[in-house]
């Protein structure tokens, strides 16, 4: 698909960037002290902070990733929505108020509040950096991927634009400007996602969707032909090659790929081999995904569409056993000449299968069950331990405000995650899925409602990256300047020097983020967000929880727990099947073990380490206190 931003989308984007930069320079005068720079003076209103939490947390992975996953895999994508939101319960009931009471500027401040230990400062700062970098890379990479089609600029330019804007936001006014950028972005994301879902429900569903159109008004939707080998033979198709369930045919010099389903029927697919797409050099993939039958409606009624439909009616229609939906998948095969060919193929599934878990997260074997439990644990326990989320507790005046802002965040984020189910399914039923990049499903759905909504949603998608990256850079620069330089390194900086160190660190971290974003181009790095949650849940949460609820916790116990949490979580991921099948370019069978998600081992291991080491160092800790 070839999507170029309209002048309107570029204009909306430019207005947003100018507004953001104006805010940054406006607040710059007020960020003269360390408190002003790292914690916005601790005077942000709890309601503003709550929406800013949403702006910080709802990253590209939430907006683009989850909607895309629901659009292509159905209900499984919504499992992320549930897990990401449930994590806020841990934040509210366990972490919010104590974090505000104990901390000053960073996560490290809170865990080190009782001990003043160099070991904790070092371990917690490293943990903050590891989690922030894992989170930054996919955001920066996503920024490049977004800019490429929307503004028609090269990937690296997109990364540099985002990096430069964020460096300016953070290095001018730190947490103050970051807060208002996130507030703006969080508010806009909620408002326009709601508008898009209202439009979707007013349109209703039908088997002849609006989809996208070219300049002449012709529908671009790819409607796969259904056939059999015998029928194709009568039409002059010659079989050329077979690769598993995929068959390659030629007819009058034209190549086509088909997938054989379980009943022996053939479904036409789209394909790409190098720069040849669907048989044309430099050709384009067509948008896909539609509903092919609606339970309870005749074929004619379904073609006319339901018209305006209620939210419950929308979900019930898609869940109906007689409803049929195309789910689009990707496979890589070799053709008869050994050329790698990517096949984009449909599976016509029932509404029952579309709306139940099990397409991506299978639970048929013991290892799959453990992986699923592990993932849900990481999502649940990871949120409350993400450093860029935790530092937002310092921007409000009191623990009660920290609590109230978390409740606003739960309302805003929870509402948004409910909308993701509608936006994802809306893309799946409206023919607005790019088969090569499901992340564009939400913006493409907006495009089916017209250029204005597309321009706004595209600009918001870009702002989504800006808001999250700004929060991450504040967290990472705090770890470098405040935790490592000032407190661990004992540099005893003055207020002015602390602010300057923070700004220089933000600049340095921003440059590193730009470089990593460019280097990781084209590599699927979505798993890095999973890493960030797994490492945060394994390294940071046990330290926070035990510090609050177990009086015998020692500094050595916390250092050991954070260290074991980082090493075990990363170790399990790096030696697991997802890394072997993905980045290492080998097979999952070659992995050292079958656990793709580490949480089920690394989280309890980190807790146990803290308990054992704390018990073993009780005497030393008591002596040190004397």
């Amino acid at each position: 698909m070839n999507l170029h931003g309209t002048p309107l989308s570029i204009a909306v984007f430019a207005v947003f960037v100018l507004a953001v930069l104006y805010l940054s320079f406006f607040f710059a005068r007020k960020a003269k002290s360390a408190s002003g720079y790292y914690a916005a003076g601790g005077q942000i209103h709890w309601a503003v902070n709550g929406i800013s939490f949403a702006g910080d947390y709802l990253s590209a992975a939430s907006f683009l990733g989850i909607c895309g996953m629901i659009a292509t895999l159905g209900y499984d994508g919504f499992l992320y929505s549930v897990g990401y939101l449930a994590g806020w319960v841990v934040a509210l009931f366990v972490v919010a108020e104590p974090m505000k009471r104990m901390g000053k500027f960073t996560f490290t401040d809170a865990v080190d509040a009782k001990y003043d230990s160099k070991g904790i400062k070092l371990a917690a700062a490293i943990s903050t950096l590891v989690v922030s970098i894992c989170y930054l890379i996919p955001q920066m990479n996503g920024a490049g991927s977004l800019v490429e089609p929307l503004l028609g600029l090269p990937h690296w330019v997109g990364v540099v634009i985002v990096g430069s804007i964020v460096i300016m936001i953070v290095s001018t006014a730190g947490m103050a400007s970051t807060t208002y950028v996130q507030f703006l972005k969080g508010g806009l994301l909620l408002i326009f996602s709601t508008i898009m879902v209202v439009f979707l429900l007013v349109r209703g569903i039908g088997t002849d969707p609006v989809s996208l159109q070219d300049a002449s008004g012709k529908k671009l939707l790819f409607v796969p032909q259904q056939s059999t080998e015998a029928e194709l033979a009568t039409q002059g198709y010659q079989p050329v090659h077979k690769a598993g369930e995929f068959l390659k045919f030629t007819r009058e010099g034209e190549t086509s790929w088909w997938r054989r389903d379980a009943q022996g029927g053939l479904w036409q697919a789209q394909w790409a081999a190098g720069d040849v797409v669907n048989g044309q050099v430099g050709g384009l993939l067509q948008p896909v995904s539609r509903i092919t039958a609606i339970g309870g409606l005749t074929a004619e009624e379904a073609a006319r569409g339901t018209g305006p439909i209620s939210p419950v009616g929308f979900l019930a229609s898609l869940t109906h056993a007689e409803t049929r939906i195309e789910q689009w998948h990707t496979a890589k095969v070799a053709d008869e000449a050994g050329r790698r060919t990517t096949i984009y193929y449909p599976k016509n599934v029932s509404g029952t299968d579309e709306m139940k878990p099990g397409v991506k997260f299978k639970v048929d074997t013991l290892w799959n069950k453990l992986n699923f439990i592990s993932l849900m644990m990481a999502l649940f326990f990871g949120t409350a331990a993400l450093p860029h989320i935790l530092i937002r507790y310092y921007t409000v005046p009191s623990p009660a405000c920290a609590r109230k802002s978390t409740i606003v965040a739960i309302a805003a984020i929870g509402f948004f995650y409910v909308l993701t189910l509608f936006m994802g399914l809306g893309a799946a039923t409206n023919g607005t899925v790019n088969p090569a990049d499901s992340n564009m499903s939400a913006p493409l759905l907006a495009m089916s409602f017209g250029k204005v909504l597309f321009a706004l949603i595209s600009a918001i998608a870009f702002a989504t990256v800006l808001g999250t990256v700004a929060g991450l850079i504040v967290a990472a620069s705090g770890a470098v300047a405040h935790d490592l330089m000032d407190r661990y390194g004992g540099m005893n900086l003055t207020e002015t020097q602390k602010v300057r160190a923070g700004k220089i660190s933000a600049f340095g971290v921003g440059i590193v983020a730009i470089i990593l974003g460019i280097l990781f181009r084209g590599i699927n790095v979505s798993f890095l967000v999973g890493w960030a949650f797994a490492v945060a849940a394994s390294a940071n949460l046990p330290a926070i929880v035990m510090l609050l609820f177990w009086k015998r916790t020692t500094a050595s116990g916390i250092v050991a727990s954070i260290t074991v949490g980082i090493i075990s979580a990363l170790g399990i991921i790096l030696t697991g099947p997802e890394m072997f099948a993905g980045p290492y370019g080998r097979t999952a069978a070659e992995a050292w073990h079958k656990l793709g998600q580490p949480g089920i081992i690394s989280i309890p291991l980190s807790f146990l380490t803290l308990v054992f080491v704390s018990l073993a160092t009780q005497k030393k800790a008591v002596a040190a206190r004397r």
Binding site: S35, G41, G42, Q43, F78, A86, V89, R101, P397, G414
Partner: protein, 97 residues
């Protein structure tokens, strides 16, 4: 106005109450979340596809329910915490008099 240096919020006599309440509410929510995960794991999706409400299946209703439950519990928690904070603050003021 908004960005003066942070001030110390002072001692909070309701801390112990709020910590205990938070822990119990966390455990209560954990039971429901664990139920969601375990139904998936133990029944392989077959129970989750059962239609339970207005044509929607258990997977959708339970998932949405967890989101709504989080908000409802958050509001209850805030109400109880605020009431306790006021009660203890009033008691402290009376003692001062």
């Amino acid at each position: 106005m908004l960005h003066e240096p942070a001030r110390d919020s002072g001692p909070d006599p309701a801390t112990a109450y709020k910590t205990r309440l938070g822990l119990w509410m966390f455990l209560f929510y954990c039971v429901f979340y664990a139920g969601f995960v375990l139904i998936n794991v133990l029944t392989g999706g077959t129970v989750m596809q059962s239609i339970v409400l207005e044509g929607m299946n258990l997977a959708v209703v339970y998932g949405m329910g967890l989101i709504v439950l989080a908000l409802v519990m958050a509001l209850i928690y805030n109400h109880l915490c605020t009431a306790k904070e006021r009660e203890l603050a009033d008691a402290a003021r009376k003692e001062e008099r």
